[in-house]
Symmetry: C2
Subunit: 321 residues, 2 copies
Amino acid sequence: MNVLITGGGGFLGSRLAKALLQRGELGGAAIGRLRLFDAAYPSGHPADPRVEAVTGDLADPDTMARAVGTDTHAVFHLAAVVSGAAEADFDLGMRVNLRGTQLLLEALRRSTVAPRLVFASSLAAFGGALPEVLDDATTPTPQSSYGAQKVLGEYLVADYSRKGYLDGRSLRLPTIVVRPGKPNAAASSFASAIIREPLNGHVAKCPVDPNTEVWLLSPRRAVEAFIHAHEVPASEWPSHRVVNLPGITASVAGMVAALGRVAGAQAAARVVYEPDTRIQAIVRTWPARFRTPRALAMGFNADPDIETVIRGYAAEEGIRP
Amino acid sequence: MNVLITGGGGFLGSRLAKALLQRGELGGAAIGRLRLFDAAYPSGHPADPRVEAVTGDLADPDTMARAVGTDTHAVFHLAAVVSGAAEADFDLGMRVNLRGTQLLLEALRRSTVAPRLVFASSLAAFGGALPEVLDDATTPTPQSSYGAQKVLGEYLVADYSRKGYLDGRSLRLPTIVVRPGKPNAAASSFASAIIREPLNGHVAKCPVDPNTEVWLLSPRRAVEAFIHAHEVPASEWPSHRVVNLPGITASVAGMVAALGRVAGAQAAARVVYEPDTRIQAIVRTWPARFRTPRALAMGFNADPDIETVIRGYAAEEGIRP
């Protein structure tokens, strides 16, 4: 079992890599090779004889062909230019998020081993005038280039799967909370920062209103979802190969209140509201409430509540709130 | 007003060209130049000083840049590899239907005159497990590469429009009936052939069951829809810039019966059923019943009934049934 993670140097990609190495198997087969492909590995990569790191440009055909080879059984395609960056630089987003995905699919089409692909799509597929609660029948109407590129990827994955070139599965991820490390160019970066920074004793500037709601999933559940998505049989996927993942709805105010319960009023007071109209404009188009019967029936799971998410993050990071 | 029609050598493209030349204006501005862009012009092109014909490969960046220039105000993007051909040759369909559309959008992005684009999408956007009657909220789940490529084009047109690079509008066309000329590689070719061939005294082999239903629109209404789509103000389009066009539902048996009423039982008897599982498999995934309140409210119109469609075709072709 040869596995490839694109974006393997990123936060979720490296968490997934660690989980796979720990498990040792995928779909019942031992993992012989775990290849990580990314532009950079800011926090290094696991020192494990099974791990190979490929550095390079996702949108370069030769690099992609080299990373995929013809003997990759399982791919987790997580690499992407994040939402704020793809909106600020349209060409960059199109190049990495669309062209890069196309190159990956073409490389997999040439595989000799019937590859299975899990594609990280996003709730940014949705936007604009939406029902109060979205469900499995809601049509994607992205209001960001990142969201549009994710939807384009989903339709490509579906058609390559229908043609039998690969066995693809797309997951529309909620906003991932809590991300460790530094804030990034994702418009959703604040949703982690307002938990993480106060827990670390720092002030967090929140660019959106306290009543802003977020549809969220913890990193741990996201990693479980990637692995589960690989293992659910093809017959249980709808023909268009995409599901909205379960999540929980939390308002910014609710997240700050939960932070207070976990780490005290002093921590909660470190969240300072500084509205940013550009971020607000993007986040406002994202939905915060879903019914996800399809994903639940397929065995995907949400976190129980935001407080558990915060406590989980603190425990993983060795923070004693 | 400089106008470009891609697929200007095709059946609908050349009909649209004639209609525009006859009108002389678009959106209230006189048409100074009508450029037709196609791989070939099988029936020539109108001898008119306003007409320029560009021959070349839609998927070649330089040819596309030359065809679009920087001074094109209105584009009708009709060029495509048809459904049967795009299914038989995946690379060809991806190259022309997806890459060609991307090149067109990129060329328009470089325009200096705020271009308006009408994109010919298709009911092939829909397929698989569908409600009995589709409506404006039905999510595209294409079951052919042609349909997938049309949906990809719609999402690209929407995002380029959202970014303000152009003012795009996508129309999901019903099956066009009656097409003149020869049968082609479109899986829907039979729907015209069973009317056209008998009217011309020839036998028509019908590859699908008589109870197969088709959602259809006449060429005349389709040309009207293209022009109307250009003229409806941007504010009346939904943010995702796509509408399902109105049409009528006709079964193959109903079409043959109408043919009998128009041209006699002898003509109707020229339709011979010879099932083709490949065609049947594609056509079966296409929906035949829609509610189209959005398009009707925007001023798009269907044909009154199939008999009128057949009589219209006969009159245009100078056939006296």
